[in-house]
Amino acid sequence: MSNISKAFANGKAFIPFITCGDPDTDTTYRAVLEAVAKGADLIELGIPFSDPTAEGPVIQSANVRALSGGITTDDVFALVEKLREDVTIPLVFMTYANVVFSYGPDRFMQRCAGVGIDGIIIPDIPYEEKEEFEPYCKACGVDLISMIAPTSEGRIKEIASQASGFIYLVSSLGVTGERTSFASGLEEIVNTIREVTDVPCAIGFGISNPDQAKAMADISDGAIVGSAIIKILASDGRDAPEKIGEFVKSMKDAIRA
């Protein structure tokens, strides 16, 4: 059983996303502790990439801020090691294929297992290319998180049947970032997924307020929120962690209401 299942064991999960090193690793460290204290069930930690093609402007800027601060993949592993002294909830990485590939996928997954990372989301590794990394993930007990999109259609069952950890359901077309509406038919997609697997399914992309989080969590097993949190970091920088904690609490309260 994946350690990630813990995040979904006590009702709907709230999953915040934070880009590591934005604007520095100490801020990330404090933001994660605040989010955990205020009820986050799983945390998605972004390893910055120079050219994040699945991100909208808000998370793109977070990557720029983090990389200008000089953070490296090794610094991120050190940060997770330190977080693991206090944090027991599941932690997953979100990064791009080249970050893993250049580190060496075997070495990367061994480091993940060593520091206590439970899963990894790689938006530019679709189902057809998962052989690139999945054998290394499996060898180290790290879940390679499968993504399903509103355009997946006939692919849903095949992807879902091989998923582990949790399934990341993309709420709508496009890149990450706030929006006012989501794709229609998400509930049907979740039902299709549930026909073939018990792996939990959380919805992300564009969720920015408690009402949206509740609506998405109601039809699935949880809500993932990135850009809305990154916006707090963009405006408040090193003073952001406390506000992120308050934001997490408001979202968690909403989805469990």
Partner: protein, 396 residues
């Protein structure tokens, strides 16, 4: 040479977000159908001949040959195509395919602006909407092409993210495609990106080597000893090489943009300075740091200012079938001026990289050898930038 997942050796593949997977599968299925459809091929061939001015000339550069004193030099005049570059070959093919697929909107990235102009042209011809993403830096370097695209009815969106050059334009076009798929075809401009793009673009550009072969056999009764072309993503180069790949005696030489030199950070010579990675949908060689962060590359040529290279080139490099050489800004600018003065042909600064390497190797070759240089585009668009390079400020 490609398998079903579009691999060239270990290179290629489909490293893209799930949101786009069905779009590339749909494209692949449509292409597999239409590439063998006689009607599609006749329409495309008519467009090539009647609209784009194909076949392009294979011109014997007598003065250049005599001046360099070595191998006989032919120029494949892709600069004489409608819109002024080889880009139109691929664009007419993709636009026709998109139309058959029922798409009404084309989006594209552009570096120097040649692909953007070609896409805007095809969109005008086929009555399609067109949006072109162009690095803000490049909109300044290539202001004339921005005007041409707008004149043709396209919307040009300056991209300010990252280094504001070609790689960022590609990223932004990919982002736009994930936002709007049902009516939109991403008309990718080079032999790069996820499968099936490297194969589709290669097939449409391979008309270049098909013609070179026929024209060379007609003029010389034999194949050339070497074919030279500039390589950014590598579309004119793969087009120039493709029908010679099995002719082992024909040397295939790709000329990369070395910028200020391959021993500096201001370079875009991917094969000579990069390592294998995964980016923009493909596995190939990329300029990157030790943690896989894509490097901010540099070249005087906006069209070659890209940190990666098409996966088929990466494969031809791995198996030693093609050779990839670096050419600096200075060498390319000298070649730009040389060809203008010697043959009365102003080549694009991109193509000038291939001319520059020919100037190095032709004198070392005997007079019975033959080389072909693909002049991928015309150089009018570069005049202001080259003047600036030489310290002269001209206003267009």
């Amino acid at each position: 040479m490609t398998n079903i997942k579009g691999r060239f050796g270990i290179h290629g593949g489909q490293y893209i977000p799930e949101t786009l997977m069905n779009a590339v599968i749909e494209l692949q299925e449509a292409y597999d159908h239409y590439k063998n459809d006689p009607e599609f091929n006749k329409e495309l061939s008519d467009l090539f001949n009647e609209y784009a001015n194909r076949p392009s000339r294979l011109y014997y550069a007598k003065k250049m040959t005599e001046d360099l004193g070595g191998a006989k030099i032919y120029l494949k005049r892709e600069d004489l195509n409608h819109t002024g570059a080889h880009k139109v070959n691929n664009v007419l093919g993709q636009a026709l395919l998109a139309k058959k697929m029922g798409k009404t909107r084309l989006i594209a990235e552009t570096g120097a602006g040649q692909h953007g102009v070609a896409t805007a042209t095809a969109a005008a011809l086929f009555g399609m909407e067109c949006v072109v993403f162009m690095g803000e830096e490049d909109t300044k370097r290539q202001a004339l092409n921005v005007y041409r695209m707008r004149l043709l009815g396209a919307t040009v969106i300056p991209v300010t993210s990252g280094t504001a050059t070609l790689k960022d334009a590609v990223s932004e076009a990919m982002r736009e495609w994930t936002k709007r798929i049902s009516d939109t075809h991403y008309c990718l401009g080079s032999v790069m990106g996820p499968h099936p793009f490297p194969t589709i673009v290669r097939d449409f550009q391979s008309v270049i080597s098909k013609e070179i072969k026929e024209q060379m056999l007609q003029k010389e009764g034999r194949l050339p000893d070497a074919v030279l072309a500039c390589v950014g993503g590598g579309s004119n180069a793969i087009g120039s090489f493709y029908h010679f790949i099995d002719d082992k005696d024909v040397a295939l030489i790709g000329c990369e943009a070395a910028g200020r030199g391959i021993d500096t950070f201001e370079t875009a010579a991917t094969m000579n300075t990069g390592k294998i990675g995964i980016f923009h949908g493909m596995k190939s060689y990329f300029c990157q740091d030790e943690y896989g962060q894509i490097a901010p590359v540099y070249s005087i040529s906006a069209g070659l200012d890209y940190p990666g290279v098409g996966p088929e080139h990466a494969y031809l490099h791995d198996i030693g079938r093609a050779q990839y050489v670096p050419v600096t800004d200075e060498e390319a600018v000298n070649a730009f001026e040389y060809l203008s003065r010697t043959e009365g042909i102003i080549p694009a600064i991109e193509s000038s990289h291939a001319v520059a390497h020919a100037m190095k190797i032709a004198p070392e070759m005997s007079k019975d050898k033959i080389i072909v240089i693909t002049i991928s585009g015309r150089g009018d668009k570069d005049c202001a930038a080259i003047a600036r390079y030489r310290g002269e400020d001209i206003h267009e």
